[in-house]
């Protein structure tokens, strides 16, 4: 029971950590660039991550010999709280920025209505044909 609980807890924590992680972004970029080799990319990324995990748990077990696990728990708790607060603050900042950008004045074409716009070149001039019916590219 404890073993299953440890497994599930670790799984959930790591999934939450990895969601917006730079490691994930790197894997995403490689998979986008090599769609014909996506399983090779997946295999390479999985091997790298499993190697990292073996290193991590070795160092972790060695660390537990030096530092009592209770202290490690407290440090982990503080760290997690800080990470959560930091993440929440950045999310709030993003939401505020997105709200401000959404309320910026825009004309019918979606371009920002300001002195820099050249009056519009026509309905399909700026976008290639294959992009016309898809959502605007970020």
């Amino acid at each position: 029971m404890v073993r299953l609980l440890t497994y599930i807890t670790t799984f959930l924590i790591i999934v939450l950590c990895e969601l917006g992680d730079k490691t994930q972004v790197a894997t995403l970029i490689f998979a986008s660039g090599n769609p014909h080799r996506k399983w090779q990319v997946f295999a390479a990324a999985a091997c790298a991550l499993v190697t990292c995990v073996t290193i991590e748990v070795t160092v972790g077990v060695a660390l537990s010999r030096l530092v009592p696990p209770a202290l490690i728990n407290r440090i982990t708790g503080v760290l997690f709280m800080l990470i959560g607060l930091f993440f929440g603050a950045s999310l709030l900042r993003e939401a505020r920025r997105a709200r401000r950008a959404r309320h910026a004045p825009r004309n019918a074409m979606g371009a920002s209505r300001d002195a820099m716009s050249n009056g519009g070149d026509g309905p399909a001039s700026a976008i290639p044909r294959y992009r016309q019916f898809l959502p605007p590219m970020v």
Partner: protein, 94 residues
Amino acid sequence: MAKVFGVVFLSEMGDKTQVTTLLLAGAKPLYVLYIALGSASALVVTSLVEVSIGSLLISRYLKPQTIKLASCLAFIVLGLLLVTGVIGRIAVAV
């Protein structure tokens, strides 16, 4: 594919994911196997999700040139942010 291995390995080195697993393993040294299995399976699942998103969504709706340009920029920007310490911080002084 050694490129993929190297990049993922290096980006995971000082990552908060790594420190999390490290601390978890240190806090429960008796259940190290289950921590290792849980962490490895979580990482594999998330990389599976990422590979699917990257190969099915992004490579379908963007030109290869655009993808390459975006990758270049993304790596440069990520590198800058990491070097200046904006992202990848393990502990934060709020």
